[in-house]
């Protein structure tokens, strides 16, 4: 019998070494601590925080969440503790965890984005930054910058000048051509691109003749969006040189590995963590098992290895 070789699961994302390609998606994993009872936080590749802003944000009125077949809509509205409370209340816990922390952040203006990048740059526990230019649920910040290549480039240029840490930009799928957005961000200095954020959607209560969400529209996520996400990752991977983080409906190891074939260096687990708080760890373990079964000794060999 052939001895089982333990496959190499490590990848490097814009200079950040990850023990495996599994990250947690912003807004689905709190600030890490919430999941400590369900996940060994040192078993996953990286954690991405809830989107942070200069000031705490209240978020949208309720209902903020509704389930749809194979997915869910959310319109949280970027509720977060703000950067001050992040530093004083959340970072001390993260300091003790040997897993890279990526801070997701946003601003209402380009100056606010740059100030956030500068503030996050000063926090040693933050390994990298993820710029959110793609939240569909707020009027200012987020999607305003994420649907116009010129605005996106301005945000990325300003953030690039404000930090030396790896800078990743999270792209919106709510555009005609995601490749145009991806190239604009790459040219402006992004070290990596993560995609996709949620798709704008809505749900209606027929009897009440009203939208279900207080915000009327919300961001659609979950397994139902995976084919769209895979297609976009594949398109962007062919067009840019920077590494890509695949996001969108990843529920299991097979989904995750498909994203790697399409060109992702790492992946983020989002909605799946709501259903199974231990999903990220399980996916990382199952990916390794899949590689063993298929006699693949390095997960990196799958990146962009799709045969067309």
């Amino acid at each position: 019998m052939k001895p089982v070789r333990i496959p190499d699961m490590t990848v490097t994302l814009a200079g950040i070494p990850l023990r495996n390609p599994v990250m947690t998606a912003s807004g689905t994993f709190g600030y890490g601590e919430e999941f400590a009872g369900y996940v060994d936080l040192e078993s996953i590749g990286a954690m991405v925080t809830k989107g942070l802003s200069l000031k705490p944000r209240a978020g949208n009125p309720t209902p903020r969440i509704v389930e749809t077949p194979g997915g869910m809509l959310n319109a949280i509205g970027l509720q977060n503790v703000g950067i001050e409370a992040f530093v004083t209340k959340k970072v001390p816990y993260l300091r003790g965890i040997d897993t890279p922390v990526i801070a997701n952040f946003f601003g209402n203006t380009i100056d606010e984005y740059a100030e956030m990048a500068m503030r996050l740059d000063e926090i040693p526990e933050v390994a990298g930054l993820e710029v959110n230019i793609s939240c569909p649920n707020v009027k200012h910040g987020g999607i305003v910058f994420g649907t116009d290549p010129g605005s996106a480039a301005s945000v990325v240029t300003a953030c690039r000048a404000a930090t030396r840490k790896p800078l990743m930009v999270k792209l919106s799928p709510n555009v005609t051509d995601v490749v145009v957005m991806a190239k604009a961000c790459e040219d402006a200095g992004a070290d990596a691109l993560s995609l996709i954020n949620t798709l704008t959607g809505m749900a209606i209560d027929l009897v009440r003749r009203r939208p279900v969400l207080a915000n009327i529209t919300g961001g659609f996520s979950g397994p139902a969006i995976k084919p769209i996400a895979l297609r976009m990752v594949w398109q962007v991977a062919k067009a840019v040189k920077v590494p890509i983080v695949g996001i969108g409906g990843i529920m299991n190891a097979v989904d995750a590995l498909e994203f790697m074939l399409a060109g992702a260096t790492a992946i983020q687990v989002g909605t799946a963590s709501f259903i199974n708080p231990g999903a990220s760890q399980k996916i990382a373990e199952d990916m390794q098992e899949w590689l063993v079964e298929h006699d693949i000794d390095d997960v990196k060999t799958l990146i962009g290895a799709l045969e067309t």
Partner: protein, 272 residues
């Protein structure tokens, strides 16, 4: 904790309302009244999200055969309202479910000896049975149960067996008084000698009224809220409720799943 549970029984106790008993881990016996579980009703992706249910009861079940090992169980009382609960009602004994729990912050049992007034609307009775079971150990307990019709008044016999004095009110008068259960609560408070505290779970309008009554009488009141939630562990921020000082400028949203579902009524913002 996350665990797999085996259904022991699943019975329709009133039209549209079901009571499910299922196995629980040993530690579950220490669940607090008011805590809840998140149940995955299917392994498939539709319905996708877990469903939150109040814990109706916990106990130990001893199978009839000799030498059998005592098995801790939990019970849920639920109403069929949509796809998830409809699916749940089709399950049978020995079917398996994936659960998270016990989750959230439960009821504070208050001062022993003082009268306890429990107010439940419809399926809002679900987390109040375990509460009553604890409270009767030290206090006189009265239950005020309300609903639209008599079909919405659940498990009153179980409460009576605990020694709880029960008052019922229905909007159509088909059981107990005709009208709102809060009227019966007012009357009892008028007769009250000495301290008391109020516990409530039910539709938001009822909680709003109960919180107002308790505040007017200066009586401590705890309410258990419902919320649309995806995760149950404080991450999705879907289930928040506005705290008493909440405004757009000074946000004060509380997570129903981790800071609740039980709150002191004074912590929350109510309609006047």
């Amino acid at each position: 904790m996350q665990f797999t549970s085996l259904i022991i029984s699943n019975i329709e106790v009133s039209p549209g309302y079901w009571r499910m008993r299922m196995t629980a881990p040993q530690d579950f016996a220490s669940a607090e009244p008011g805590q809840f579980v998140m149940v995955r009703v299917t392994g498939a992706i539709d319905p996708l999200l877990r469903r939150p249910f109040g814990i109706f009861d916990v106990g130990t079940y001893l199978p009839a055969q000799s030498g059998a090992v005592a098995q801790p169980y939990l019970e849920m009382l639920y109403r069929v309202v949509g796809k998830g609960t409809a699916l749940l009602s089709t399950l049978h004994e020995t079917d398996l479910l994936d659960l998270l729990g016990p989750l959230g912050k439960g009821f504070d049992l208050g001062t022993p000896g003082e009268e306890k007034l429990i107010v439940g609307g419809g399926v809002g009775l679900a987390p109040l049975y375990l509460l009553a079971k604890e409270l009767v150990k030290n206090s006189k307990v009265r239950l005020f149960a309300g609903g639209r019709t008599r079909d919405d008044i659940l498990c009153i016999t179980e409460f009576e067996r605990l020694g709880v004095e029960c008052y019922t009110a229905t909007e159509d008068g088909s059981l107990g008084e005709c009208g709102l259960v809060t009227e019966a609560l007012w009357r009892r408070l008028d007769q009250l000698q000495g301290g008391a505290s109020v516990y409530a779970c039910g539709p938001h309008g009822m909680l709003n009224a109960v919180a107002g009554i308790a505040a007017a009488r200066g009586i401590p009141c705890q309410v258990s809220l419902e919320g649309y939630m995806a995760c149950g562990v404080g991450a999705c921020l879907g289930c928040v409720a506005p705290g008493h000082s909440h405004s757009q400028e000074t946000p004060d949203f509380r997570c129903v799943c981790t800071e609740g579902p039980v709150f002191d009524a004074g912590e929350l913002k109510w309609r006047d």
